[in-house]
């Protein structure tokens, strides 16, 4: 709209610019870094920890699939096996540690800062505590039972093979390990039901609200949608609207106000 006769110009969009903005925004919480540094200090490790654990899940899945095809994911395997093995440990450990640190910080901030505390409900604390518990449980499992994520990979393997067990793997079930698996499953099921899905909904908020600027041209799909919506029959009750449940938006918008109030 900065150009003369903008409607005659080609609408330019750039995937490169979008990625240049969105990647630092999603991975590093660029906006929070710029606008709210205190919260970023705890929010970034928490979110990055979650991303790292998602990456760990992918690595565990890849490792389990490789094992199905006969590969051995151990410290002494092929180059690819070695890569998956050590990468899983590194990424998983960092994820659990960052998540635990960030979760602790977020809970502390929410409890200690009145600006956050006064707006927090039981559900907000529960959501944070739930994720924090998962991080802590995972970290303790790693520390005491599953340094190389072999148990976690064996669990994915068994899921993919309907109960199978990797060759040479001796099951060492632990309360912590099983608890972490249960918590991880619950977290994955629970997040979409809460505002925590903002990690994914951000796409819609940015693309369909913040950045949405497609103009309505004659004969366009947008115009067709508008025409459809203008056919709705509103029921707003204020006198000046003049809605009666029968008149459409077109009828109402093309007539004058009926009463002052």
């Amino acid at each position: 709209m900065e150009e003369l006769n903008w409607w005659e110009k080609e609408i330019k969009s750039s995937l490169y610019n979008e990625l240049k903005f969105m990647i630092p925004e999603i991975l590093f919480l660029r906006g929070v870094w710029l606008e709210n540094r205190q919260v970023w200090k705890v929010s970034f490790p928490f979110h990055f920890g979650l991303y790292m654990l998602l990456a760990t899940l992918v690595l565990l899945f890849v490792g389990a699939v490789a094992m199905i095809f006969g590969a051995k994911i151990t410290a002494g395997g092929s180059t690819l096996s070695l890569l998956i093995y050590y990468l899983t440990i590194l990424v998983g450990f960092i994820g659990l540690t960052l998540g635990t640190v960030g979760g602790t910080g977020l809970i502390y901030r929410r409890v200690s800062d009145p600006a956050l505390k006064n707006y927090s409900s039981f559900a907000d604390y529960f959501n944070l505590a739930f994720l924090f518990l998962f991080f802590v449980s995972g970290l303790l499992t790693w520390l005491f039972h599953d340094h190389a994520f072999d148990g976690a990979r064996a669990y994915i393997y068994s899921l993919l093979t309907f109960g199978g067990q990797p060759e040479g793997y001796t099951s060492s079930r632990s309360f912590l390990g099983e608890g972490t698996i249960v918590l991880a499953s619950l977290v994955m099921a629970y997040i979409p039901m809460t505002h925590m899905s903002h990690m994914f909904m951000k796409y819609f908020l940015y693309h369909f609200v913040r950045w949405e600027d497609k103009p309505n041209f004659k004969g366009s799909r947008i115009e067709a949608m508008i025409l459809k919506n203008l056919g709705f029959k509103p029921t707003w009750a204020a006198g000046h609207i003049g809605a009666d449940g029968e008149k459409t938006w077109v009828d109402i918008a093309t007539s004058g106000p009926t009463r002052n109030k």
Binding site: F204, F208, F232, A237, P257
Partner: protein, 535 residues
């Protein structure tokens, strides 16, 4: 009750006042304004507020009559709940339902928005003005009364009592935000607290018929009835324009012809009619520039055709659509190629952006910002300029609706760089600008002591920015705040007067076109005369 750190649930607890402005809590003004740091709001007179709701803070924007009995209270609450439901129904709110739902569901309450809000900051961080306070109250009501099982889960998600006090305070609170959307622009998730405020205003207007009289009765209703929110009918506006034409010739020595109702002209130029009354030189300057550039253009003398304001943008979708459709019908009748919007920020957004989702078929006539064509004219070389005529400090105010909402940032700057040698930016500027404090209707709202609240609180940040832009300039040098928006000009005029900035710092204000005409070589006499009334 002390205003700091109260919880959203406090809105439902009856008390004399929920928030309170105190002079010693407001961010201080620099020299030579320190003596004005003790200014505070004049108290509301008991007899004036005896029968209206005034328990939110120290001012009143609407003045809702207090219910006489329990039955009336219940009626208000039932109407509120009915409107709340309608906001979340597609047939009643198809235009804004998607962003509203997203903003309802995904706020992480991180408070990043709070530091971006000039009203919150300049009030001394009064909790009720925090962007999330209003939103959280509304969100809790939505979750409790609209979401399935909400009454059961509200104890977990944040409960709030819905009573007369809640309803009345929420209505008032919707008019303590200028809808500048600075909060939305910094939200890491994309939640839009200003949109929530806008939707609350809509609920009250469209369902309950509650809105400030300046924007409803004297605003959109008068606009649709008479032709202008100023009350001017077509005869009056043509008379005024004849006067403007004569005065412009007198001031500049330039022979001016103002075209009316010229069918088939390329451009229909639409002004905020407030300019005709309050800043006629702006209307005259536009006409001079268009004539000098040889543009094919016209004014319309049809009702509404000479007043591009659209107050519906701030509070009522139906009124917004009615006004926008009238504007488009007039353009269609005149067979113009495009509509050009003069220096009026909210009209830019209403006609160019929001009406884009209303106007279809032959009514979808292209709309363009006046800044763009002015930039084209100034850059084209059609008019000769002598920038030395504007050799005084100039700073630019960015109207939120044009800059942040529409992304029109550069055209007005290119013009100033060419014609104003001492142009300097405010900090921050562009899409990060601060509102003038008069947005969303505040500039025209003056009932009770509201205008005082505006100059003291919501416009305070702009005043500090203006002072900062001219920091280091000698006191006696005249300085010009270029505010290319009628609402912004009104708010800036009021803060300059309130803080005696003309006397103390020689700060003046005006539009963009006045600077352009002032620099035109063809003008025999200067248009801008500091210390003199132009008209």
């Amino acid at each position: 009750m002390r205003g700091n750190f109260i919880k959203p649930s406090a809105i439902s607890k009856p008390s004399k006042r929920l928030g309170h402005i105190q002079a010693n809590e407001l961010p201080p003004l620099p020299p030579p304004y320190e003596d004005l740091n003790n200014l505070t709001l004049s108290g509301l007179k008991d007899e004036k507020i005896a029968n209206i709701e005034a328990s939110l803070d120290d001012t009143v924007a609407i003045g809702i009559p207090r219910p006489k009995n329990k039955e009336e209270e219940e009626k208000y609450i039932r109407a509120f709940l009915s409107g709340l439901r309608k906001l979340f129904e597609k047939k009643n709110n198809w235009g804004f339902l998607q962003p509203l739902l997203l903003s309802m569901e995904y706020c992480a309450k991180c408070q990043t928005c709070s530091d971006a809000c000039p009203v919150f900051e300049m009030s001394g961080r009064q909790e009720i003005y925090r962007p999330t306070f209003r939103s959280e109250v509304f969100r809790r009501l939505y979750k409790k009364y609209i979401k399935p099982g909400g009454k059961l889960t509200s104890k977990l998600t944040g409960d709030i009592d819905l009573n007369w006090t809640t309803v009345a305070r929420l209505a008032e609170l919707a008019y303590r935000c200028t809808l500048c959307r600075r909060c939305a622009s910094v939200c890491p998730i994309g939640v839009d607290n200003a949109l929530i405020t806008h939707e609350i205003r809509k609920l009250f207007s469209q369902e309950m018929g509650i809105a400030p009289k300046e924007i409803h009765e004297k605003g959109t209703l008068q606009h649709l009835r008479v032709g202008s929110t100023t009350g001017m009918n077509p005869v009056a506006v043509k008379d005024s324009m004849d006067f403007i034409q004569e005065e412009m010739e007198e001031i500049t020595g330039y022979k001016l012809e103002i075209p009316w109702d010229k069918e088939g002209a390329d451009i229909l130029l639409l002004h905020n009619a407030g300019e005709v009354l309050a800043w006629p030189e702006n209307v005259g300057a536009f006409a001079i520039i268009f004539q000098a550039a040889g543009i094919s253009w016209t004014f319309s003398s049809e009702e509404l055709g000479y007043d591009v304001v659209n107050y519906g943008l701030w509070y009522d979708d139906v009124q917004m659509a009615r006004v926008a459709i009238k504007h488009a019908e007039i353009a269609k009748k005149l067979k113009v190629k495009k509509m050009i919007i003069g220096e009026c920020g909210h009209a830019h957004k209403a006609l160019a952006v929001i009406a884009d989702r209303v106007l279809t078929g032959d009514l979808n006539i292209p709309r363009e910002s006046g800044f763009v064509i002015l930039d084209e004219i100034v850059s084209s070389g059609k008019i000769k300029f002598d920038p030395s005529r504007n050799n005084f400090p100039v700073t630019l105010h960015d109207p939120c609706n044009v800059v942040r909402a529409m992304g029109i940032v550069e055209p007005q700057r290119r013009i100033l760089r060419k014609i104003a040698p001492q142009f300097r930016e405010m900090t921050p500027h562009g899409v990060d600008n601060y509102c003038c404090g008069g947005g969303s209707g505040f500039a025209i709202m003056s009932g009770f002591n509201f205008a005082e609240w505006r100059t003291l609180v919501s416009s305070r940040k702009k005043f500090l920015q203006i002072l900062d832009a001219f920091k280091g300039e000698p006191q006696d040098v005249p300085k010009y705040v270029c505010a290319p928006c009628s609402n912004c000009k009104g708010a800036i005029r009021d803060i300059l007067e309130y803080y005696h900035a003309k006397e103390r710092s020689h700060i003046y204000y005006g539009g963009l076109v006045e600077l352009i005409v002032n620099a035109m070589v063809d003008m025999k006499k200067p248009m801008i005369k500091f210390d003199e009334e132009s008209f």
